[in-house]
């Protein structure tokens, strides 16, 4: 039985392929269309995954869309009724969007993917999120908590999932409906801080470490939580809607009242200067306060889930589960013995959940647990010729040891290097298949990479990848079983003795979003880390996603070559080849002059 899950129309369109109940591949459309956050029907991704699996569209038994669009439409109608006459622009835009494209998703999917209309099925948004976590882990039953912007009606769903021989059982215990939403609260304040919604949330998370939560009380008052002993079905929280406008406006998610409480907003897209000015401090404090309130509300929800279900495992999903800092707090809180999070917990992950849930309810409920989330495509590297890029001088390594030694030598020599090996990662984190690697030490390394390679704000740290057997020596505060840290889904603390040696990967508050690397997850990268450790005595590398500012993570060799050129990386490793750029043309070191715009493409 072949099932294809699809998420599309909003942001991060993606697809997943399930064959005989097993998740065989998954990818986001942006990797192929090269448009960041591409929301369009993932035609390219579906074709590619089907080709790789040797299947044709006609072989698909079902194409499962990750949500129910009609339900969403009814919610929008209700919201228009409740907000009239103050929501004309939102109403107009919604009506156009829905009648010009969204309502026709069944037809569009059938046409674009060349499958009969009858084979298109529809999941439920929060069911897809919950199933994406539950069905990719080896658990028989678990509590589920989904927190995101909004699905059909619900923004938060608390439930229980169980599998038995008959299939999948799902019970909804409590929901919070739109417009009360932790995801939209976070988005509204993300926009208030001048960052782009759906793109800047993790920047807010990074900024939070620079501030003090002095507005926590004010923001907390805007998210009224139900009493801990509220009767079943009445838990959750409510937003003080007087401060928000996300249900009325498509441009601004907050009202004047929020500005009265928190002060004037940061104009969108103004470069963020951690310059110690009063405004910069206030914005950082707002971010810190928001993060504090979010963590507190999530903890309450987790306790509620524990109380209602009595389960010891929590499957936590939805866009808010991308917040690695909050994930760490939840994991360490001990409310649940196990906290499980899907590597692509945003809407992209809905494609996986939708496909697996359909398969589970059609006789195939025993999907194998997902190991390292490497579900994408394999780069097309020829053994007899290096990749086509004449700006790099290519060397061919005789074997994997020689390759690792050579790459480790380059890294030890402070070169910044692109690394493309094996199947691409599933989800927003680079886990060593499409990564930019560099030394994690050196006081200027973070600023150098932020400015030259990623062209992003100085306050944003990079993530380290560390050998599993030495992780405890460098970091503390791991969650149970270090399960989240294995996929870079949580944040831990760098031990003070190591902060200088991991300067570029340590945030201002001493935290780091670490990837704990086990040999079985990425054997070649593991070997590289060992080689690097031998040369430098550092068991960790700086590991960031392989993409230039504004572009998606690279997928193919061609993307990697182009992106390496844009980033002006010193070297590009695509085993068995290593391409070297001449020093004059590479990323300047600290103290070098900043290049002019004319030198960038």
């Amino acid at each position: 039985m072949n099932v294809c899950g699809v998420s599309a129309q909003y942001h991060d369109a993606a697809t997943a392929l399930v064959v005989d109940g097993q998740l065989v591949s998954a990818a986001q459309e942006e990797r192929f269309s090269r448009r960041k956050g591409d929301p369009s029907i993932p035609v390219r991704a579906v074709r590619r995954l089907l080709d790789d699996a040797g299947l044709a569209p006609g072989d698909l038994d079902a194409v499962v869309f990750y949500e129910k669009p009609f339900q969403k439409f009814f919610r929008i109608v209700a919201s228009s009724v409740a907000n009239a006459p103050f929501g004309l622009t939102a109403f107009r835009a919604a009506l156009h969007a829905w009648f010009e494209s969204r309502l026709w998703i069944r037809t569009d999917l059938a046409r674009a993917l060349e499958v009969p209309r009858e084979r298109i099925a529809f999941s439920d948004h929060h069911l897809s999120h919950a199933a994406a976590v539950f069905l990719t882990h080896d658990v028989g039953s678990a509590a589920t908590l989904v927190v995101d912007g909004v699905g059909e009606w619900a923004t938060t769903t608390l439930g229980r999932m169980r599998r038995d021989d008959d299939g999948l059982r799902y019970e909804v215990l409590e929901t919070v409906d739109f417009p009360h939403s932790l995801g939209l609260l976070y988005s509204a304040i993300t926009a208030y801080l001048g960052f782009e919604v759906n793109e800047g949330e993790y920047k807010v998370m990074g900024l939070a470490a620079h501030g003090e939560p002095r507005f926590a009380e004010e923001i907390g008052a805007l998210v009224e939580a139900a009493a801990d002993d509220a009767p079943r079905g009445t838990g959750g929280f409510r937003l003080d809607l007087r401060a928000f406008a996300h249900d009325r406006s498509v441009q601004k998610g907050w009202s004047r009242r929020l500005e009265t409480i928190l002060g004037p907003p940061n104009p969108p897209h103004r470069p963020f200067a951690a310059d110690g000015s009063e405004d910069a401090r206030r914005y950082a404090d707002v971010a810190a306060s928001l993060q504090r309130v979010l963590e507190e509300r999530l903890l309450r929800l987790a306790r509620r889930a524990r109380e209602l279900t009595g389960e010891s495992t929590l499957c936590y999903g939805g866009g808010v589960a991308l917040n690695a800092v909050a994930n760490g707090v939840l994991a360490r809180s001990g409310v649940f013995e196990r906290l499980l999070v899907h590597p692509a917990s945003g809407d992209a992950g809905g494609a996986v959940g939708a496909a697996l849930a359909w398969a589970a309810t059609h006789g195939e409920p025993r999907a194998a647990p997902l190991g390292a989330p490497l579900l994408g495509t394999t780069p097309d590297v020829r053994d007899d010729a290096p990749p086509d890029a004449d700006d790099l001088a290519w060397e061919r390594a005789d074997d994997q040891d020689a390759l690792c030694e050579r790459v480790a030598e380059l890294l030890a020599d402070d070169r910044v290097l692109g690394w493309v090996h094996g199947r691409a990662e599933w989800g927003p984190r680079a886990l060593g298949a499409r990564s930019i690697l560099a030394r994690p030490d050196g006081p200027d390394q973070q600023a150098r990479l932020n400015r030259m390679v990623k062209e992003r704000e100085d306050f944003r740290p990079f993530a380290p990848v560390v050998l599993a057997h030495r992780a405890d020596e460098l970091f503390e505060g791991f969650g149970p079983g270090r399960a989240l840290e294995r996929r870079m889904l949580s944040v831990v603390t760098v031990r003070p003795a190591w902060r200088e040696r991991l300067a570029a990967a340590t945030h201002v508050d001493g935290s780091a979003r670490v990837q704990v690397l086990h040999e079985e997850d990425a054997p070649l990268l593991h070997r590289l880390l060992l080689a690097f450790e031998r040369r430098t005595s550092l068991p960790a590398l700086l590991n960031t996603s392989f993409n230039h500012a504004g572009e998606p993570i690279v997928d193919s060799v061609t993307d990697a070559v182009a992106s390496a050129r844009r980033c002006r990386l010193d070297a590009l490793a695509i085993p068995p080849y290593v391409g070297l750029r001449s020093r004059a043309d590479a990323v300047p070191r600290a103290g070098d002059t900043t290049p002019t715009d004319a030198t960038r493409c």
């Binding site: 029907i41 907000n83 010009e100 009606w153 988005s187």
Partner: protein, 259 residues
């Protein structure tokens, strides 16, 4: 005829430039056009031999840079117009993005469509770029009171003029090789551009018309309906439906088929 649209657009540009909202939206549209052109040219360039490939890649990179320039400009003109909506709760996105969704569905759905010849493509670039040059020159002249237009447009014009030059040169070379086929190709491109212009005009009618319909609908039907419903406690801003369903979800065929 083919330059009519740009002439009109250039002449009415003060009406756009003087309104930050309108100006920012137009700049966003310019930015999107530049981005799509970048993708398009980069894709076609991959199929060309050197040195044309490098020349086309340079063009593609210019378009990408222009995309950034227009976006930055739009953000400076009207920051909140260009800011994203909070997770798009109303289920809406910019018109451009929606159309992009449709275009992407349509494009791979017709994989066997005839690809343009190099001459046709270069003629298309030549006509499009020369139209852009005309529009920007008019823009610059008419809005010479506006500092931003004085500063930015010359930077773009220099690139656009170079694009006109190389596309005309390549098209000429191709024409010399096969004059009769190229003549047919020229009219095909001309027809294509005129058809696109007509469709754009009709789309404008659609936008204005549907804007009117939704406005009437909102104030004539939704608002009175909403006021009555709210008066009788049927719905509130903070409580859109009476009760959210809880309990076991029947994951049966009916569940999967309902959208």
């Amino acid at each position: 005829m083919i330059y009519l649209r740009e002439t009109v657009a250039g002449l009415i540009s003060p009406w756009v430039v003087l309104s930050p909202t309108r100006f920012a939206r137009q700049l966003q549209q310019f930015a999107a056009t530049e981005l799509y052109t970048h993708y398009d040219i980069a894709e076609v360039a991959e199929r060309q031999p050197s040195p044309l490939r490098e020349e086309m890649h340079r063009h593609a990179n210019d378009e990408l840079r222009h995309h950034g320039i227009f976006l930055d400009w739009a953000r400076k003109v009207a920051p909140y117009v260009t800011a994203g909506a909070a997770d798009d709760p109303s289920g809406s996105r910019s018109r451009l993005e929606r159309e992009e969704v449709r275009a992407l569905v349509a494009q791979p759905a017709a994989p066997h469509r005839r690809l343009p010849t190099l001459f046709e493509y270069m003629t298309y670039i030549f006509l499009s770029e020369s139209r852009a040059v005309l529009q920007f020159k008019l823009y610059q002249w008419i809005n010479r009171y506006d500092r931003r237009c004085r500063e930015w447009i010359p930077r773009l014009l220099a690139d656009e003029t170079r694009h006109v030059g190389y596309s005309a040169r390549v098209a000429r070379e191709e024409f010399r090789r096969a004059p009769w086929t190229c003549t047919k190709g020229f009219f095909r491109v001309l027809g294509y551009i005129l058809r696109q212009d007509l469709l754009d005009l009709l789309r404008l009618v659609q936008i204005l018309g549907s804007g009117l319909v939704t406005g009437l609908l909102y104030y004539g039907v939704v608002t009175p309906y909403g006021l009555v419903k709210r008066a009788f406690g049927g719905v509130r801003r903070g409580r859109l439906r009476r009760a959210a369903p809880t309990g076991p979800v029947a994951l049966d065929d009916a569940f999967w088929s309902r959208s």
